[in-house]
Symmetry: C2
DNA sequence: CCCTTATTGATAATAATTATCAATAATAAT
DNA sequence: ATTATTATTGATAATTATTATCAATAAGGG
């Protein structure tokens, strides 16, 4: 009977990620959490981020060209990715379900678990250049 | 005046990719094209795939957990990714623009270049297990 | 044909993530 | 409580996909 232990490492990672809106990478989180637990290992950070993502506590987000990032907001929402500077912004609207309904007849035996709608472009700063 | 030369390597890669519906990786294309040009280098395959994707001749597709794949179909279309076996299927419907319109007021100075709507789930085969 | 420049092939380098494994910490059993 | 059991950690090695390097080759223009 394996139990999931909420270690001080996991707690520190969650506490650190929770308030953030900037979708940090594992490396970002590592350098931040090191201020609290200097001896924490990068592997532990990766490991626990994956475990917590699998448990649905946080969300793993992967986008073209960028390395993996993590988001404390697990609700269905879209991201805007600047192709110039790589910033990832939340889009404050939910993905509408029309496209999902549209493909109903195509689905057949397939089972759709989730969808992802993302936007790529230039952020406010990069658009002025 | 740099010109883009359609070398026999590029031609072989396109000819090979064009009829395929299975979204092969660079490695897949490499092993296939080696039957035509045994001495072709993996680097050449990667290089030319990137060049042709940048030129808009083919499309580069990147999805969570999978390595980069290439698609001869450059039209806007969604993909269905099986989280079990990793197969990438085309969804024969276009992304509707409603979600894009919905975020108009949020856009501000941002410039949206493209969007991507993908579905994750279990394919017909994997759903029966 | 020669000259210039793009492209190739071979290989080294990079970089992010994952695996390994002995040491440690947490919980459970006695 | 003390010991036994099991999960987790930290350190580091391994992996793997992709990118960079660079001398050699090939292509096309004049």
């Amino acid at each position: 009977m394996k139990s999931l232990r909420l270690t001080k490492q996991k707690k520190a990672i969650i506490d650190l990620l929770s308030p953030r809106k900037d979708h940090p990478t594992a490396e970002d989180i590592y350098s931040a959490v090191r201020k609290l637990i200097p001896k924490i290992s990068l592997a532990t950070v990766y490991r626990n981020l994956e475990i917590m993502a699998a448990a649905g506590i946080i969300m793993k987000i992967e986008h073209e060209g960028l390395n993996r990032r993590f988001d404390p907001d697990t609700s269905a929402h879209s991201h805007f990715i600047c192709v110039e500077c790589g910033i990832v912004e939340d889009i404050p609207f939910n993905l509408n379900n029309e496209s999902i309904n549209q493909i109903d007849s195509w689905i057949g035996k397939r089972k759709i678990l989730r969808s992802r709608l993302d936007y790529y472009g230039l952020c406010g700063v990069c658009a002025n250049e």
